[in-house]
């Protein structure tokens, strides 16, 4: 067989297949993207009818003034408005506390759901059923109006005559507390399902091995099951945090002046609705971007031991590409 190839063609050059369809598709998309970017940063005749007039050889000639289609100048002027800044801070606070309640309670509910005790798993199932089955908007209104059902909240002996503590519901459930409670309890229902998926994804052999070296069930849970379940839990949880960041905007409906509330409040007085919505979008996008980057690194941390070699981070990849590019250039320069 070896004689079929002449000496010079012993190792013929490999010609990669060209994917023409892919190339055309990419070009069409590129044109579309270019058009979109162009309109976003284009200017149009003034919406208020403003004109610019010149005297040309003694004759006054006027033409309409131009302004940004997306009113970027107005967006810029409100981006760091104190009310907007305070709203952003509230949004972040609500997100944090609601996620904290959601994750803590959700983990407990997930463990209850997996309990061998039928009553425990039944209650956990019921919780998820109720809070997943009603709109979160209604839940926010519900906690805001809880004083209708329970004018005072009493801490005492169950069914007993004495009470240690009486709190007026109206003073306890301020709009902010009502929003955090509603979002947190609702999140717990979703997170419990995420946590349950993570917990049951850990191989039973891991539990047996931990048991066989004498670990107690709680040690096994903390040191063996949870750290491995995290790999499955983190990606959907990142999704939940990002979703929560935006769902907090519903709190505006009960009078919490968070980011969305703040921009609505401002636009209610100056009618610059669209530019102020864009202000909110810019901040929401910035926050979700930071969260996504954080998620990438947390995922990477918990993936240790699951792959033989970790894939490179974007920064490592960039550095590698740059190095490769440099080497290629040096090589071609040397050939020339």
């Amino acid at each position: 067989m070896s004689s079929t190839l002449p000496e010079s063609e012993a190792s013929p050059e490999v010609v990669p297949l060209r994917h023409w369809g892919r190339l055309v598709g990419a070009l069409v998309t590129l044109v579309g993207v270019a058009m979109l970017v162009h309109t976003i940063f284009s200017k149009i005749p003034s919406r208020t009818g403003k004109t610019i007039c010149h005297l040309v050889k003694g004759v006054k000639s006027c033409r309409p003034a131009l302004e940004w289609r997306f009113s970027w100048n107005i967006v810029g002027s409100y981006l760091f408005n104190p009310l907007v800044m305070h709203g952003l801070w509230l949004t972040l606070q609500i997100t944090f506390w609601a996620m904290l309640i959601g994750i803590t309670l959700g983990l407990v509910i997930a463990m209850m759901r997996l309990s061998h005790n039928r009553l425990m798993s039944g209650i956990a199932w019921f919780y998820t059923w109720f809070f997943r089955g009603t709109p979160v908007y209604i839940q926010i209104l519900f906690w805001f109006a809880i004083a209708y059902l329970y004018p005072t909240i009493t801490v005492g002996i169950p069914f007993g005559p004495w009470s240690f503590l009486n709190i007026n519901s109206v003073t306890l459930f301020t709009p902010l507390i009502a929003a955090i409670t509603a979002l947190g309890l609702n999140e717990a229902a979703y997170f419990s399902e995420i946590a349950r998926a993570g917990l049951i994804s850990v191989d039973e052999g891991q539990i047996e091995a931990a048991t066989s070296i004498g670990m107690t069930p709680s040690q096994t849970m903390r040191m063996v099951i949870l750290p491995q379940a995290m790999r499955v839990i983190i990606p959907p949880t990142g999704n939940e945090v990002i979703s929560m960041l935006k769902t907090t905007s519903l709190a505006a409906t009960i009078g919490v002046i968070e980011l969305t509330g703040a921009v609505s409040e401002i636009s209610a007085t100056n009618f610059k609705t669209m530019p102020l919505l864009l202000v909110a979008c810019v901040w929401y996008l910035l926050c979700t971007t930071i969260l996504s980057i954080g998620q990438f690194y947390v995922e990477r941390y918990f993936a240790r031991g699951s792959l033989r070699t970790q894939p490179p981070t974007p920064i490592q990849r960039l550095r590698q590409d740059l190095k490769g590019f440099g080497a290629k250039r040096r090589k071609s320069a040397a050939v020339a």
Binding site: D203, G205, Q206, E208, A209, A210, T211, S212, I213, G214, M215, T216, P217, Q219, M223, V224, P227, Q228, F302, R304, G305, S306, L307, R308
Partner: protein
């Protein structure tokens, strides 16, 4: 107290209507190596798992080093022990699994130290030192920073043996330790087990490696359908099987 490390009398176990152990008797002396052989589904793995209470036996008496496994005899009743007590019992019994079951999220070193530190309360330094000694013993001293996924099956199983030994057990249970390995990796694991037997460790080994059984075991038990069909010294049991079932079984595996 008797010199028996493990003593079983009339041990039974059922899963629903299916009885997998139908009254097993077995005695293992201290320092002895015992091999359990038999076709799959014969109940040998279940029995092994009953010895460290990973499975709960239904009736019969099961003692490890004179102590009842999982129960306490008070008056005429057997009371189930608390999880804490059972954990203490288990810490004295090492177990090696068919599929290694190393903690995937921990390095080799952490796999061996976690039990020492968290269960026995040994300091980190002492635990690490012991781990290094054990890794040298199983020939993996260079792998302490590796994750299990980066090791071959044979290496993983040797780490699993080191992890069990780190707890300084008085008894080692092996559940088909070489069945998940590529043929060329079986030898390295059997070598470690052979050394361990020589050092005087009491071992119960569920295995299909008849060569290992013949060479290392002090006694061999043949299980079939939840019953011990034949038992005795390996030369006698493996070379001159009396029952037809064992003859059939040996003709298939040898």
């Amino acid at each position: 107290m008797s010199a028996h490390m493990v003593e079983a009398k009339g041990v039974t176990k059922s899963y629903g209507a299916l009885q997998v152990l139908k009254g097993l008797d077995l005695a293992v002396e201290k320092g002895e190596v015992t091999c359990l052989i038999g076709p799959s589904g014969s109940g040998k793995s279940t029995f092994l798992r009953c010895i460290n209470h990973l499975e709960q036996h239904d009736s019969g008496v099961l003692r490890v080093d004179g102590e009842l496994v999982g129960y306490e005899l008070r008056g005429k009743k057997l009371y189930e022990r608390s999880p804490k007590q059972i954990c203490n019992q288990r810490a004295n019994i090492g177990m090696v699994f068919q599929r290694f079951n190393l903690f995937q999220h921990l390095t080799v070193m952490e796999n061996i130290t976690i039990g020492q530190e968290e269960v026995k309360g040994i300091s980190e330094d002492a635990a690490k030192q012991r781990a290094r000694e054990l890794l040298t013993r199983v020939g993996l001293e260079s792998k302490e920073k590796a994750y299990p996924v980066q090791l071959s099956g044979g290496q993983q199983q040797r780490v699993a043996i080191a992890r069990a030994l780190a707890m300084e057990p008085k008894l080692m249970l092996f559940d088909e330790p070489t069945s998940a390995l590529d043929p060329e990796l079986v030898g390295e694991v059997l070598d470690v087990m052979r050394d361990l037997a020589k050092s005087g460790m009491t071992m119960i080994v569920v295995t299909h490696e008849m060569g290992f059984a013949r060479e290392v075991a002090n006694s061999v038990y043949f299980l079939d359908q939840g019953v011990i069909e034949e038992s005795g010294e390996p030369n006698q049991v493996l070379a001159n099987p009396r029952t037809e079932r064992l003859q059939n079984f040996l003709s298939k595996v040898l």
